[in-house]
Amino acid sequence: MSSTVAPRRAGQKDRRGPTPAREALRSLPWLLPTLVLIVCVVLYPAGLMIYTSFFKYNNKGILRKPDPIGLDNYIGPAGALTFPGVPIGRILLNTVVWVAVVVLGTLILSLLLAQFLNLPFRGRKLLRLFVILPWACSVVMTATVFRYGLQDKVGLFNRLLVDTGILETARAWTKDPTSAFWVAVFVAIYVSLPFTTYTILAGLQAVPTDVREAAHVDGAGTWARYWHIVLPLLRPAIAVAALINIINVFNSLPILRILQETPGYHTGHITTTLMYEYQTSLGPGVSSALSVLNFLFCLVIIGIYLAVVQPTKEVA
């Protein structure tokens, strides 16, 4: 914004005309708060993380050697990728499944929900309010409710499943790595729905009715109208929702942390929760190393997304 305003003002008050350098200088006061924020909360911690990943710490977080130890924290005997007993292949696969299933599931359900909420009907406002509720609750709280609900002895969800005859006996859902993982997927979709639905709903409201009517007059069926008119117009909204969800879901620690009751290096981890596990048992060096890898992994996923979907074409 400042860049479009600055030249005009410069033209009025200053006859020498703007050069790129002067323009950058002028915009600095407006950019400074953001730049300071980015340097302090993104660049500095990221740099510190990379630095830490090259030093040896014990599990109490005490530096054990003053000199860097090369790639030991990555691939040494107690390295992030090579520590004995860690099913690393399975965990990497889990991470991809986690991101893909949660984001795709959320998007598909949100498209349906948004379409429904866009229809005129009595009580629409109230229903829209209910849809946004999971977003108003903290993720930790929601995940805790599910954890208690799925508890094998006193859990209400278990009780419901048994009483309705869906299950024979109650299950300790959150104590088995695999079932806990899928419960977490469910909860993650549940908490991601409100934001995504609202983003798409806003997109839907921006679809001009005359375009749809014109298509209708030309003889396009409901499905053809949705596929060829509405969906392409929703592309910017879906692109934003998908990108934000990918980043959010990838880094989502609380849901899996709370719903996985199995200790140690089990087969229900994703790299983000494994990082936390390393932090307590191997210390910040190894944990940082995995964090660096995680960061690169996240970049790759987003890179693939950008290359395949090219969402910025319409956004920019």
Binding site: R64, G85, G264
Partner: protein
């Protein structure tokens, strides 16, 4: 040649003398301003990090602080109480943030001592105070070289707690002594139906190391292998094989990754016949109306074992003479009979000072007497070995897998994790 040796000796001795003087001088500088000061004028803040032993833990510490502030009115004492389940994480967070607690009440000290973060306790506490602590318990706070870096503040002995009513119902005459007895009793208990299981085996994050140690000792083994710790000894494999057998026969609770509280709850609800427990487990269960009996833990040979656990006071070196003085004074006060006795009673565990133990035995009820008596047959975990932290963490993270994996492979993996970290 002779002259050279003489010269060398003289040089060495004078060097030693000089450095000794230097060291002494330094100490003098460190302690003189502090000790000469009037306690009422000492103004500083000391920080305490302690676990929650019971609901009264905060009040118990506050009582000591109140007394301390009578003599040191200007010393502010900041107390942080945290639950056991995440206590190691909190300690780690404080150390990493450089916010070292002056006084830490914890169950491990070797890695902090190894890193040179701690005061020697004989530097802080008077000889009388140290002498008042039961020597066998005090030895747990010594590093392998004999330096005292931690003093025990609480002990607990763990025995086999069993539900007398269930035993009677199942027709079990006396508590099991051997592993075979244990299987037999478990089978009879499981036959009662109603979801009752024989033996609680909590291999979750909280207690896996205690449970594993007891089974290992029951098999006649030990973690120590010379100077190193060894997780995959033959005895350990035998112990884990027996644990797996208990689980697979359906004698244990359904989820091996339960914490101590999980099995205590089951025991208190009358759903478990036997658990390994300390005073709190017994008092929880009796409060729910369970008729509890105590016996040594069964072993392969039938010779009873019991585990002793001591928690410690550690004092971190914050490079501040005033804080050091306040910390020393606080700890002296902490171990005084007048304040220590109500404090330890609040934890519902066992005392560590000779006088408190004697007094405890004299006025103990049936259960406390059993635990206090057991202090003579207990074995301790190798807490002062720097490798113990790694072994303990590995056990906490993986021991529960014995239910689904091959014991030998699992123990080799645990051993590999320990070796990878050393």
């Amino acid at each position: 040649m002779k002259r050279a040796i003489k010269l060398g000796a003289v040089a060495l001795i004078s060097a030693l003398a000089l450095s000794a003087c230097g060291g002494g001088g330094g100490d003098q500088q460190g302690s003189t301003p502090a000790s000469s000061e009037d306690p009422a004028a000492l103004e500083t803040t000391i920080k305490i990090l302690a676990p929650s032993y019971s609901d009264s833990s905060k009040a118990d510490w506050d009582a000591i602080t109140a007394k301390f502030n009578e003599t040191y009115p200007k010393v502010k004492v900041e107390l942080q109480i945290e639950g056991w389940e995440t206590f190691a994480d909190k300690v780690q967070a404080r150390i990493q943030a450089g916010d070292l607690p002056d006084i830490l009440n914890d169950n491990a000290f070797s890695s902090s001592a190894d890193a040179g973060l701690l005061y020697r306790m004989d530097e802080l506490l008077s000889k009388e105070t140290l002498d008042a602590i039961e020597p066998t318990l005090l030895d747990n706070g010594k590093m392998p070289d004999g330096t005292l870096y931690a003093t025990p503040d609480i002990a607990s002995a763990r025995l086999l707690a069993y539900n007398k009513d269930l035993f009677e119902k199942a027709g079990i005459a006396e508590p099991p002594k051997t592993w075979a007895d244990l299987e037999d009793a478990s089978q009879k208990l499981a036959a009662l139906g109603d979801d009752i299981r024989g033996y609680g085996m909590p291999l979750g994050k909280e207690e896996a190391q205690v449970e594993s140690s007891l089974w290992l000792w029951g098999a006649g083994g030990d973690w120590a292998d010379g100077e190193n710790l060894k997780a995959d000894s033959d005895a350990a494999v035998e112990a884990f094989t027996q644990m797996k057998k208990m689980y697979e026969s359906g004698y244990t609770q359904a989820n091996l990754e339960d914490n101590r509280q999980g099995t205590t709850d089951l025991f208190s609800a009358g759903k478990l016949g036997m658990v390994i427990g300390h005073g709190q487990v017994v008092s929880d269960a009796t409060a729910k109306g369970i008729n509890v009996g105590l016996a040594p833990v069964p072993s392969k040979s039938g010779e009873g074992v019991a585990i002793g656990v001591t928690d410690f006071i550690l004092a971190f070196d914050n490079k501040d003479a005033a804080r050091k003085q306040a910390t020393a004074a606080y700890l002296e006060l902490f171990y005084s009979d007048e304040l220590y006795v109500p404090w330890y009673k609040g934890t519902t565990l066992l005392p560590v000072t000779k006088s408190a133990i004697e007094k405890g035995i004299a006025e103990a009820d049936e259960y406390n007497k059993a635990f206090l008596d057991a202090l003579t047959l207990v074995k301790f975990q190798p807490v002062s070995n720097p490798q113990w932290d790694a072994l303990q963490a590995a056990l906490k993270a993986s021991a529960y897998k014995v239910g689904s994996e091959d014991p030998k492979t699992l123990l080799e993996q645990i051993q590999a994790q320990v070796v990878a970290q050393s």
